[in-house]
Symmetry: C2
């Protein structure tokens, strides 16, 4: 047994706005941040988890984590993981706190930080990475971690169980394949919106030299500069490599459709977040209008119910689930199952502080347990801030290599936690 | 001119869980609360506003209000209201804080408290109630307070302008009519889920004696007790009065449809929140299946984009917009226009601490400026906590009487603010 004896939360911020790394049409000056949770246990092992934010307001997510502390401290880990779905519902539907969502925004980000820390703790106790912990669950155990409320109309629970059972076959071979080749990724960090054309060209050349074959650029400022930006990307990466574009919610529905006519010549694999992340029907209308450009969204999709509708409405070609936006890994697993049911490839959102470390597990789980396919799939990668992690991601030839360290890869180095603590860490005192 | 010189936020909570007032299927023990904002101005007038919550976590909304303070303090009121749409977007899309929503949950509740306090201040400076301030705007001025982003596909801005212009005729006559008769309301506070059958019968009898003709009961625990509860309500209020039921998000989509077959004999005007508030397509499916029972939702509808889709999908018969859940009155006005376009009656959510005080203004604005109809419309009322307000609502024969005091009726009595301050006020020290 292992009792959770303490919960600490840290306000961690990296001053990325100084270089405009991560900048896009609506988030012009992000400071990549984490509401960082440490769960202490009497077994001496600590679970680490966080939710990613982009600076101001990170303290609000930290306050929300504190509001949940009473539901965690003193509990046995085995009791939580023994009926993880019930615990997940207790947390995300606490009778007073749920008013602040329900299951969205600040309160859901806070729940995710805690829930992901619980997965980290569980996996460390077992001595395996989170992807392996999940892959070794039986189909029934897998489903038992998911609160199935509100999903039954789209995917009956029994059907999900059948899907998981069918995918047991070949799992070991798929694991061996990933161990050889890694999981396919694409790179975002060559073309942040705040970067100069010269910087973009240089970073693309470096990425090609390192083996990258899939690139994403930011768009959404004005048509002329977006056309120019896509042209620069095609010049830099050629036509044999994949190009995606990300509008970060900049457009109205009719505006997105009109705008994308100008970007059609550049052979975009997808347009990401063309409009409000809440607009299921809007995404569906855009998708019908802009094919063969695919439509992708998910990093701001608030919960499983919105993902359910994106699938039901035929609104997206790519599901960009995030590791923190939903209420932790349990809810992510539900979305992976829904995506499989509706035949939509999952290409997780990452890039932010620690998100790559998280989502590699999600993609591996998806391939091993659910999709059993790599077709048209790639996971986001951005090449920064990995140096702050105890077990940073490793990439080779544009693929994520399988992580081997026990846990969810979420643990940051003590020196980084100290330096990036806001507002008293060395990085911020210097500013 | 009037410069905003200070912003204070108070954590105000009423210990309503002691009596189970406000209790429902998912919110079993609410302490009706407010993240309460006071804007000081150098003209000596203070703007008061708040967002309603149900207890734990109210401190998180207060923290979010503080995060916005730098965008408010030092600004001229006239400059804000002179381009209120632009200010509203700056607030709700602040480049780092928007990550925590965007435009939903804690961060949007906090924006609402501030924005509503600005309306209170603006109306007090003009010496009129908020409904009158809005009713006296020209159609162009009315539209100029709304950030129209993401709405154009459902309601082109020019069409909204035409609608407002067409409704100028007869406005004075409608105001005179409301001044005589008030705006129709329904009562929720006779049948909270935690109340005994005897209490419900007594409260219904008292409400009938006071002139109420529309009642709502809570359901969603189990079919047998819900059937019993509806039967008791029909015995208590008869068949000539209207009965609505509120499931507070308790059901899956197929479960809602099956369950409502058992409640069909009771002639419900509407079923409220039958499933997840985010499930646009689920509400549409339920609506198709349970007619002639109407489907109502809105108190947890996160923003105008979700309302837009509820209308586009034909998902609801009644629009229960809330005064705090959206980003303040500006966004509420957008939803009123969308509802009119799609022919859906607006019956605002209220009942919580101060919500009745707010929503009377919304219904009056809707009738005067937009719907020009009272058909099938009624505004929620619950008979508690009004004693804490400087200008509490007045009801007569089941109707809200027109408020005359300048402002948004949001100001609480200094003694109440002191007593209900959490955790140090007298009400909480006593506990």
């Amino acid at each position: 047994m292992s009792r959770i004896t303490g919960l600490r939360v840290l306000d961690i911020r990296a001053p990325t706005s100084r270089t405009l790394a991560g900048s896009d049409a609506l988030h012009t000056d992000p400071d990549y941040s984490a509401a960082y949770v440490m769960l202490e246990s009497d077994g001496g092992v600590a679970g680490h988890g966080f939710s990613f934010t982009i600076g101001r307001g990170n303290e609000i997510v930290c306050a929300a984590v504190q509001a949940f502390a009473g539901l965690i401290i003193g509990r046995e880990l085995d009791e939580i993981t023994g009926d993880f779905a019930a615990f997940h519902r207790r947390l995300t539907n606490e009778s007073q706190l749920r008013w602040l969502g329900p299951e969205k925004g600040v309160i859901h980000l806070a729940a995710a930080a805690i829930v992901n820390a619980l997965w980290d703790l569980w996996a460390k106790r077992r001595g395996v990475p989170v992807w392996k912990l999940v892959a070794d669950l039986t189909p029934a155990e897998f489903l038992a971690v998911i609160d199935w409320r509100y999903l039954e109309d789209a995917l009956p629970r029994d059907e999900a169980l059948d899907l998981l059972r069918a995918r047991q076959a070949g799992k070991a071979a798929r694991e061996a394949e990933l161990r050889r080749n890694g999981y396919p990724a694409y790179i975002t960090s060559a073309a942040w919106l705040g970067y100069s054309e010269a910087t973009v060209r240089r970073l693309c050349a470096e990425a090609i030299a390192a083996g990258w074959s899939r690139f994403k650029t930011k768009v959404g400022i004005d048509i002329a500069s977006d056309v120019r930006r896509c042209a620069v990307m095609r010049e830099a990466i050629g036509w044999e490599r994949a190009l995606m574009a990300d509008a970060n919610q900049a457009w109205d529905v009719p505006q997105a459709i009109a705008w994308l006519r100008h970007l059609a010549p550049f052979g975009l694999r997808w347009i990401e977040e063309p409009t409000s992340p809440d607009d299921v029907l809007g995404h569906a209308a855009i998708r019908r209008a802009v094919a063969p450009i695919g439509v992708a969204t998910g990093e701001h999709c608030a919960n499983k119910v919105l993902f359910k509708q994106l699938f039901q409405a035929g609104a997206i070609d790519y599901c960009q689930v995030d590791a923190c936006r939903l209420g932790g890994l349990n809810e992510v697993l539900a979305v992976l199952l829904l995506a499989a049911k509706f035949g939509v490839p999952v290409c997780p959102h990452a890039g932010g502080l620690g998100l790559c470390e998280y989502v590699q597990h999600i993609s591996i789980i998806d391939y091993l347990c659910i999709s059993a396919s790599l077709a048209d799939r790639s996971t986001e990668f951005a090449d920064h801030l990995h140096e702050h992690f105890v077990h940073p991601v490793r990439v080779r030839d544009g693929c994520y290599l399988l992580p081997d360290a026990p846990g969810y890869s979420a643990e940051m180095l003590p020196a980084s936690l100290a330096a990036l603590s806001f507002p008293d860490g060395a990085e911020w005192r210097r500013a």
